[in-house]
């Protein structure tokens, strides 16, 4: 990896006890849940990683421990560097501190993760669903959520499905 990234990763290892993985020049650093806000603040202030390019989550079901990884992709425009922080989250403890105080843009990204995966962010200023309607139950991007929505209606089962289909009233 880039020499400047090596220094940064070494500091993160000492401060936060983080492990890291490398792949073709990209660095993925694994950080614990309690230390993520400090790590983000540190990277933003000390090392000019001022852009949170992407924030998303991955579901590793049926593995429960950890089940989710939350991914923060930070970019430094002045140094032309990019680093990825990952938080392993267990299936039983779905509370993560919010990053909106560090990066304002994390507001909607965390709403999307709350909607799609069901991971709660503590002290989030606006914890509503962002993509699905408000009264929707379930979290669609989890791996145990059914993939299709309805059974295709072919000729042989047309009448059975026709009875169940919710047609609109006038």
């Amino acid at each position: 990896m880039d020499t400047r990234l090596e220094k940064i990763v070494k500091v993160l290892q000492e401060k936060a006890g983080a492990t890291y993985e490398e792949f073709r020049g990209e660095v993925h650093v694994f950080i614990n849940v309690g230390q993520i806000v400090d790590a983000l603040t540190f990277l933003r202030d000390e090392h000019q990683f001022s852009l949170l390019s992407a924030m998303t989550a991955v579901d590793y079901w049926p593995q429960e421990n950890p089940r989710f990884h939350i991914i923060y992709q930070l970019t430094s425009l002045t140094q032309n560097l990019s680093i990825q922080l990952r938080i392993p989250v267990n299936g039983s403890q779905l509370k993560v501190p919010t990053a909106t105080r560090v990066f304002e843009v994390a507001n909607w990204r965390e709403r999307e993760i709350m909607d799609m995966f069901g991971i709660e962010f503590e002290d989030h200023p606006d914890p509503r669903r962002i993509l699905m309607p408000e009264d929707w139950e379930g979290h669609p991007l989890r791996k145990d959520y059914p993939l299709g929505y309805e059974e295709p209606q072919f000729t042989f089962n047309f009448d059975e499905i026709d009875v169940r289909k919710p047609y609109a009233k006038e």
Partner: protein
């Protein structure tokens, strides 16, 4: 609904009157601009110069639901958009018709998932379904002409009872 409720079934008078009223309705039916996704491009090109829908009376498309007769639902309707669609349909004055254009509006299309309404007839009552992904402008015009034939067959008695 105006004329129908007052006349009911009076034989020869209503037959000629029905023909006249339906002729008037089909000859100047103004669609509402409801292009949501890719089918909107085909709807635009059906309205434009090469395949002209103005020949069939759809001189212009009104963006306001209060001034339109026909709603062409062109494109996929997501679950969040469905109440909006219903509200716009309710704001259209009678008589109104709906064409579900394309596969996504008819049956959910390729999107069999949590986010897309599986067929817009779960939200509004549809008169004509036009298949295609997207349907060619000629197919949309064929759907419009089919709707005209349906309107020409409408009778006062049915509308008065409804």
């Amino acid at each position: 609904m105006g004329v129908e409720e007052k006349l009911g079934d009076m034989g020869v008078v209503t037959t000629t009157l029905e023909t006249a009223v339906n002729w008037a309705r089909t000859n100047a039916m103004w669609p509402m601009l409801f292009g949501l996704a890719c089918c909107a491009i085909e709807m635009m090109s059906a309205q434009a110069a090469n395949y002209d829908m103005s020949r069939f009376g759809m001189e212009l498309m009104r963006p306001s639901p209060r001034q339109s007769d026909l709603m062409i639902v062109a494109g996929r309707v997501s679950r969040k958009m469905a109440p909006v669609l219903r509200r716009l349909y309710d704001q259209m004055p009678e008589p109104k018709w709906v064409i579900a254009m394309g596969d996504c509006a008819s049956c959910g299309g390729v999107f069999n998932n949590y986010a897309i309404v599986q067929g817009v007839d779960e939200v509004v009552p549809v008169d004509v379904y036009v298949a295609g992904c997207p349907p060619r402008p000629e197919a949309l015009i064929h759907g419009v002409v089919t709707l005209f034939e349906k309107v020409k067959g409408e009778k006062f008695a049915d509308l008065a009872k409804a």
